[in-house]
Structures are given as C-alpha cells and as structure tokens.
C-alpha cells in the first residue's frame, strides 16, 4: 500500500505512560532521531518524584513532550498535536491538554474495568464518545509487541516491556524519522543481553511496519530539516551542557575541577556526568550531606582547585553558612542550584524560579555574591564557564541558577570552537605583596587588586605565603582578626563593591525590538527565555510591536539595565515565582515593573504569554 505523505511545518508529540513504561527513554530516542534529521527541537520531560508509583494510577504517569519543526523554535510547544498514551491513566492525565483535532494513539490493552477504575474512569473513554473531538487510533500495542517478540523466548512480562520500542517504531514511521541511531543504541545498551536486545529491535521494527501496513494510518508526515547556521551540532540537555561547561572551565583555567555534592533531584545528573571525566582531572566527591559537599569543595578551592558544588533549592538552604564562609574567605567557588518547586521538599521533579531571592539574600550578614543564569539547555555550557570566570577572577562564590526545565529539557546545540573559548587566569600569589615600614617584605592575604578588588589566591605549598584566615572579620590588608568598628564597615562595603565591579566585565543587556518602536518591554531571566521569545514572535506576527530582553547576570545587573527599563512605557516581567526579579528591579531602579507570575511547576506556554502580552498591548493603546 502506497501511503500519502503530508508536509507539516511543526509537530508537538507527547509520549505518556506509567513511570515504568520507559517513556523518558522513548522520548530521548525520538529526540535523537529528530535531532540527527536536522529539525529544530525542544523537549519537556515530566515525571513523578516517585521511582515507581503504583502502576496504572494518575500519580504514576510519566510523560515526555517533544516539539520539532522545519524552522527555529524556542519551546516544547503549547498543546500536543499527538498524544501517545500507554494506559488509561496516561490518557486521563493528558487528554485535557489536547485541542480538538489532535491525534491520540492509545494502547487499549489495559482498558479493563479494573484499570479504568484505577485511573478514575467510570466509563471506558474509548467507547463513551468522550474522545470524539480527536482522531483516535486505539490498538492493543501490548499484544502486538508480545506477538512480535515471540521468537526470543522471553517471559510475557519482559516481552510486554518492549512496547515502548513498538510505539517508538510506529511514531518513527509516522514522521519519517531516521532509525539508525536507535538501532545502534539498542544494540549497545543491551549488548550483554542478546535476547532483550533482539526483542527490542524486533518490537521497534514491528512498530514501524505496523504503521506502514495498517489501514489505521492513511498518511505519514514529513517535517523538513530546519535551516540552521553552518556548523556542527548535537542534541544536549541542560545538565549535560552545564557539566561540560564545568569541564571546559577546568581546561580553560588549567585548574583541576573538584565537585563536592550530595545527590538531589534534579541536580544529580551533573554529579553522575562529572564522575565520568576523570581523564580531565575532574574529582568528584559524593559527600555525607549537602554541607560536606560544599565544605569539601571550598577546601579544594583553598588548595587551588576550581571548587564546585551542585544542588537544588533545599541543598542551598543547607549550604548557606558555608557560602557565607566562602564570601568571607574570598575564595573561588561555583555553586550550582538547579531550581525546583518549593518551599521545603516541594516539587522535586518540577521546575520553578523561586530561589532567586535565596541566592541573593539567603545568608546571615551582608553577604553578596554574583548570580548567573542560563536561558536554554545549550546555554548552560556558556553560563557555567561564565560563573567559573567570575568566581576565579573575583575570588568569590558564584551562584549559577539553572532549573528543572533546563536541566532535563534538550535542544540542538551548535558545538563551540574550543580554541576560541575564553581563558580563565587563576593568577596564584607567588610571593610577598607588602613592604612594611621597616622594609620587611610580607604576604598580606587581604591586599586587593585595585581594579577588581579581588584578594590574592595564596595556596598552601607556596613558601612565604603562610597565613591564617577564617570566618571571623579580618583586618583590611594583613587579614588578621579585627573587631574594629571602622574596619568592619570598610570590609562589608569592600566585599559589596567587589561584587558590584563584576558589572565592569559583563556585556550590556541587549533589547530585541525589531521595529524599534515598542512601548512594552518583556524582561525575563533563566529558562523563561524560550516561552517569552515564542510569545513575542506571535505577538509580532499580529503586527504588534514588543521588545524583549533577557538577563544572564542577576547580580550585579548589567550597567545599562536602568536606562533600558526607563525607556519603555511599561515593563512586564514573567517569572515562575511570585515576582522575585520584579522585586529586585523595583528596589534598585524605582521602576514600576509589572510581574506576570505562575508557579505550577511547569514552564510558561507560549500561547499563555502571547495572550497576556496581547491583552497588555491592547490596554496600553486604549
């Protein structure tokens, strides 16, 4: 049967199943196929904190959304065009996100009265007409899978587990994806379990051929590759890019990277990743707790390593005292906070931007530190390098604020030219830096660089630099304990001035205002870059003018930010918190910025921002 091929510009697919169904793997593989095909893409994994919540229940549903297109895109998309639901709970948890006309592919194997009840369905939705608005393809994917792998002598249970590969094969056919990378992947992943390997490959192929032969699917689709700048690309998640940025920071500074960390969602993957790169001299220390993680990292920094600690919001709370010590000792340290929903344990696997004020102010005393935030998964690489640059140049802890959406989401990333990555100069102290009145040469640990106000990094093992420092207030210059009122005032102001001077080395904030006549500015930070950008594009497609700016540096702000804010009639700041950046902007610039806030544990949908921005523009013009 020759099937029709229809052209599409973009598709949003959501794979949903039990958390044991392998939906994340299915999504990852489909993403990899799509990336190598050359589409632009953006992904949103969404899974419960429980490893295996009770099978068939709503809390156990895990999903993976992928948006891919023949043009440049910024987000995982609004509503899925295609939902793949592996059981009743997956259908029920996701169907409300669909718009009429969407395609629903369902494994009807588990649509028994018991499982329907578990998912909260009184009636079978495949039979009661509730899905009439959608194009529903219901098959017994489980039985088809089991049938396709019969030859390999697996238990029924193991055979059925290959159903995610069956669905991957089916979707790969439907959207004309290249399958070689999945074949290679399966062959490698299950190299030591030949029967499992062969069963997965067989299920994958069976899914493809099922699409090709069944009458249920009359058409397949083609989404042409997106035009991209010439260069080499790979698909990358935020946590991976951030890990690579840290490895690169070690290479570019010539410093060994020392990561002290305690496992925590969604930051643990950085610990896993960095533990693989020992050939770069990267040391990883899985500590007994969050405090020991940062303590060991700070100890390594004291010894001349690039100390790094990675965590999420609750971990930052525990590390706060040590961050304060690092501020007082004025030693380089990169503190990575992959933000998640809070307070307390909150929403471990969901995203939020609610640690900005914790990063700014969550310590005792006047304890300023620079804050850097990536805007997209691939941008985590550059942001990590930038955090390390500031930490080393200014001898200070730097907070790197990623979030769960960036951490697990992925996008095509243009590989940087490693020869043109910035160099980071540690500039260790080598000898005395002070001459006393009597002509003696001494080493003063708190003698500062006049430009940056950074103090010397004097590592043990260097003769003549022996000195004693700690968390007690130190005298300006020689660094001995001092309780002098005027000295403390000076030291507090100097530590603040040092952080403020970071602004001398950061680029001005750029405003994207294609028509140069916008009255409304949308300002964001961190992972909202994609949704805000997509929202602005849609607003502009309606012929309206809107300006967008996005902050990489949250402390200090770029030097031109105040001027930029005052240039517009109105400034809207969308954040996944209750207005933390807005608070800082209002306090610093006395500008009446307006927040748009949601804390649902999910990124903004472009359509939502499009609506808000359009409404605001209409209000402004009337």
């Amino acid at each position: 049967m020759v099937k029709q091929v229809e052209q599409l510009e973009q598709v949003v697919i959501r794979f949903a199943g039990d958390s044991g169904d392998g939906m994340q793997l299915t999504g990852d593989r489909f993403t990899q196929e799509t990336a190598s095909f050359g589409n632009d893409l953006s992904t949103l994994p969404n899974f419960p904190a429980e490893i295996r919540a009770p099978a068939g229940t709503l809390p156990g549903v895990s999903s993976f959304q992928l948006h891919f297109a023949d043009h440049d895109i910024l987000t995982p998309g609004d509503t899925p065009h295609v939902l793949v639901a592996m059981n009743p709970a997956a259908l029920r948890a996701n169907v409300s996100d669909l718009e009429p006309g969407a395609t629903v592919i369902v494994d009807n194997h588990d649509f028994t009265s018991r499982n329907l009840k578990k998912a909260g369905y009184a009636e079978n939705p495949l039979e009661d007409g509730s899905l009439d608005a959608f194009q529903v393809h219901a098959f017994d994917l489980t039985a088809l899978t089991v049938g396709s792998v019969e030859a390999f002598g697996l238990s029924r249970r193991d055979a059925a587990r290959a159903k995610n590969m069956f669905s991957l094969g089916l979707l790969s056919w439907l959207y004309g994806r290249p399958v070689e990378s999945t074949r290679t992947y399966l062959a490698k992943r299950f190299a030591d379990k030949p029967s499992i390997r062969d069963a997965n490959l067989a299920a994958f192929h069976a899914g493809w051929y099922f699409g090709e032969t069944t009458e249920g699917f009359a058409v397949s689709y083609e989404i042409k590759p997106a035009p991209m700048r010439a260069g080499s690309y790979r698909n990358i998640s935020g946590n991976l890019a951030l890990s690579y940025g840290l490895v690169a920071a070690g290479v570019q500074s010539g410093l060994p990277v020392f990561l002290g960390a305690y496992p925590i969602t969604p930051a643990s993957d950085i610990l896993h990743e960095l533990s693989k790169h020992k050939q770069f001299g990267v040391m990883t220390f899985q500590a007994e707790d969050e405090i020991a993680g940062i303590g060991a990292a700070l100890g390594a920094s004291y010894g001349g390593s690039l100390g790094v600690t990675t965590t999420s919001g609750p971990g930052i709370a525990l590390k706060s005292e040590t961050i304060g010590l690092a501020i007082s000792l004025e030693l380089p340290l990169v503190v990575v906070d992959v933000q998640r929903g809070g307070p307390s344990t909150g929403l471990p696997t969901k995203t939020e931007q609610s640690d900005l004020l914790q990063a700014m102010f969550g310590r005792n005393g006047e304890a300023p530190l620079p804050i850097v935030a990536p805007r997209s998964p691939g941008d985590c690489f550059d942001a990590a390098l930038e955090a390390a640059r500031i930490a080393v140049s200014y001898r200070t802890p730097v907070m790197l604020l990623s979030d769960g959406y960036l951490a697990n989401g992925s996008e095509p990333w243009q590989l940087p030219d490693v020869d043109s990555l910035p160099l980071i100069e540690p500039g260790f102290a080598t000898g005395p830096n002070h001459e006393t009145e009597t002509g003696d040469h001494r080493f003063w640990p708190y003698q500062r660089d006049p430009q940056t106000l950074a103090r010397p990094w004097a590592i043990p093992g260097t003769a003549g630099l022996e000195h004693r420092i700690g968390g007690l207030e130190k005298a300006d210059g020689h660094g001995n304990i001092s309780y002098e009122p005027a000295n403390h005032d000076l030291m507090v102001r100097t530590r603040q001035a040092k952080v403020d001077r970071v602004a001398d080395t950061i680029p001005p904030v750029e405003v994207d205002d294609p028509d140069c006549d916008a009255d409304l500015l949308v300002l964001g930070w961190g992972s909202t870059y994609g949704p805000i950008g997509a929202g602005c594009r849609r607003v502009r497609q309606k012929g309206l003018s809107i300006a967008q700016a996005h902050l990489r540096h949250l402390n200090p702000f770029p030097g031109n930010l105040g001027d930029v804010l005052r240039r517009y009639d109105k400034v809207i700041v969308p954040e996944m918190n209750l207005g933390q950046l807005a608070l800082l902007l209002r306090a610093k610039y006395l500008v009446d910025v307006e927040g748009y806030n949601q804390v649902r544990g999910m990124p903004f949908a472009p359509s939502e921002l499009e609506g808000v921005l359009t409404t605001t523009l209409k209000e402004m013009s009337s």
Binding site: S232, A248, V251, Q279, G299, G304, L415, G461, L465, G471
Partner: protein, 327 residues
C-alpha cells in the same frame, strides 16, 4: 589482611631544606585563651613537635571549626583555616583529597566534633582520609560560656541544665572505633611526653588519625581531669597502652594488639572507663592500615589519565551523535 604501617601519612609531603625550630612555627598573633587553659600546653607541644617532622612549613595546613580550641591555627606559622562550626573535617577532606602534598590537621573540640559536626567526623573516619584530627575534650562548652557538651557527665549542672543534664555522653574513642577509624588514640594535655609521642604516631599514620586530648577548662569545668593528674591517683587510674605490651588491671592482664584487624578488643578497652575514671586507658587503641579515600580517588584519576580516553575537550563536546550543517 596484614597491617602495613610502613605507608607514612607524610609520604607525599615535601621535606624542608632547613631545620625549623619551635619559633619558626609560632605566629605573630597574641594567644587569647584564658589563663590556665589546657590549650596552651597542647599548643606548646605542637609547636615544639612539628619541627621534628622535617616538613616544609608551607605544606602544613591546620583546619579548625568553631570553639576555643578552633582558634589554634591562628597561633601557628603554617597555613591555617578557621572555618565554621563542625565542618572542619569536610573542608579538610576536600583539601587533603585534592592536595596529597599537604600535611593536613583538623583541630576541634568536643562540641565542634561530636555535636554540631558529628556527621562529618564519623564520615571522615570511615572514609579514612589522610588527615590528623586533634579532638580537645574538656567536656564543656567554653566559648559559649559554659553549657554542657556531648561528653559532659550525666547530671551535670550548667547554665543550660540547672536541674542537671539528662543527656547521655559519647565516649569519643568508642565512637571513633565504631566509625571504622584506622587510628584512635587518647592522651592528656598535662603529659607532654605522652602527648608528643601520640602526635608523632598520629601524624605518621596514613589515613584518618583521631587523637582525643583530655584538656582542662579552668573557667567552666575546672579540674575535670584532676584525678588523672595527681601522681598517685594517676598511677592507679591510668591504663597506659603500648602495642605488644602487657596491660594489667587488677588480676586481669592481656597483651595489647593495636594492629588487630578486628576492633573488638580495642572497643572493649575503650569501655574500661565507665565514666567514673577508675580505669582510663590512654595511648594508641588502634592503628591499622586500610587504603585511604584520597589515595584511591587520585589513583582512579591517574588510571583515567593514563588510559585510552583522551582529555579531548572538542571530542567530549561533540559526543557520538553530532551532525554537520553545511553552508
């Protein structure tokens, strides 16, 4: 497994070209402990003993937490880091693991090590990081002016326990043995010769060495160890441990084996003091060899660097699934 104690904890620390004296290890800072504090005696012993290690002064680091004893690093002309409450073992772990050429010491007290920092202490010992921990035990909180500590005796009347403490104390030696420490010793501030002998063995040990030092606080817990300082009393009460030597208590006697792989005997000895100080063992309870955490971490790095995987940043970034877009 046989105990191999020839691996010195100081193996990778460069030797000094010049001979140093006590004066070379004395900083220009005025010592600010209370008159009569046991810390003075320990400081003097450490300043006098350090030259005998023959190490470069700049390769010695003292890390401390918070408390009276944690001011110790300020008074030594080495590298010193006065950190935050309880965290010194964690900081020292990062330093010692990343810098095998340093001789790393932790100075801590009973509150710092056993209360707020208990977690870091036990984990440092089980990992067997190459650091030497001096635990000054005065059985009281000094710097916060006299609350009971995790080693204070039950019923102790202090500012925070006017009706008597109902906390049961730790025995630091038993705790260290339970935490898999490879070197555990106890000594007294008042016995300079014994203190120096134990410090030398502890510094030479490859792995975590825990030395509990009974130390008098003349202000808030004066005389806590007086019964061990009176000559006659001490002779009756102190049980001096020497590896391979006979230990006698009343009609019991045995040969002390500090190198025994099984810590049971050492633990039993640590329980001789039931709190009454009738029998207080001092000396080295346990001294065994076990691969250190930091040596193994560095060995994994060395193997990775000499292995097949190159430290090729461009190759790492490209991964296995990259593609090229042409002009």
């Amino acid at each position: 497994m046989t105990t191999d104690l020839t691996l010195s904890g100081l193996r990778d620390v460069p030797a000094s070209d010049v001979s140093n004296s006590r004066k070379d290890f004395t900083s220009d800072q005025e010592v600010r402990w209370c008159p009569g504090c046991g810390d003075y005696i320990v400081l003097a012993a450490v300043q006098s003993f350090l030259p005998s290690l023959g190490l470069k002064r700049e390769n010695i680091v003292f890390v401390s937490g918070i408390g009276c004893s944690s001011r110790f690093p300020y008074y030594l002309d080495t590298f010193g880091l006065h950190s935050i409450h309880g965290r010194a073992p964690a900081i020292a772990t990062g330093l010692a693991t990343s810098r095998p050429d340093l001789n790393v010491w932790v100075v801590t007290g009973d509150g710092d090590a056993l209360s707020i920092g208990g977690n870091h202490l036990i984990h440092a010992m089980r990992r067997n990081v190459n650091i030497t921990i001096l635990l000054f035990n005065n059985r009281i909180y000094g710097l916060t002016k006299g609350q009971y500590s995790p080693t204070s005796e039950p019923g102790k009347i202090t500012k925070s326990t006017p009706a008597g403490s109902v906390d049961f104390p730790f025995n630091p030696v038993s705790l260290a043995l339970g935490a898999e420490a490879t070197f555990v010793a106890r000594t007294l501030d008042s016995d300079r010769a014994h203190l120096t002998e134990v410090l030398l063995a502890a510094a030479s040990h490859r792995g975590t060495a825990l030395v509990e030092i009974y130390q008098n606080c003349p202000i808030f817990n004066d005389g806590a160890f007086d019964v061990l300082k009176d000559k006659e009393e001490a002779a009756a009460r102190l049980v001096r441990l020497g590896h391979g030597e006979t230990v006698r208590i009343g009609d019991r006697e045995w040969i002390h084996d500090a190198h025994a792989e099984n810590p049971s005997q050492a633990f039993e000895i640590s329980r001789l003091d039931d709190g009454s100080m009738a029998h207080v063992p001092v000396g080295i309870f346990r001294q065994v060899s076990r691969p250190t955490y930091d040596d193994q971490v560095r060995e994994q790095i060395r193997q990775a660097k000499s292995g097949e995987a190159e430290a090729d940043l461009a190759g790492l970034l490209a991964g296995r699934d990259s593609w090229t877009v042409e002009d």
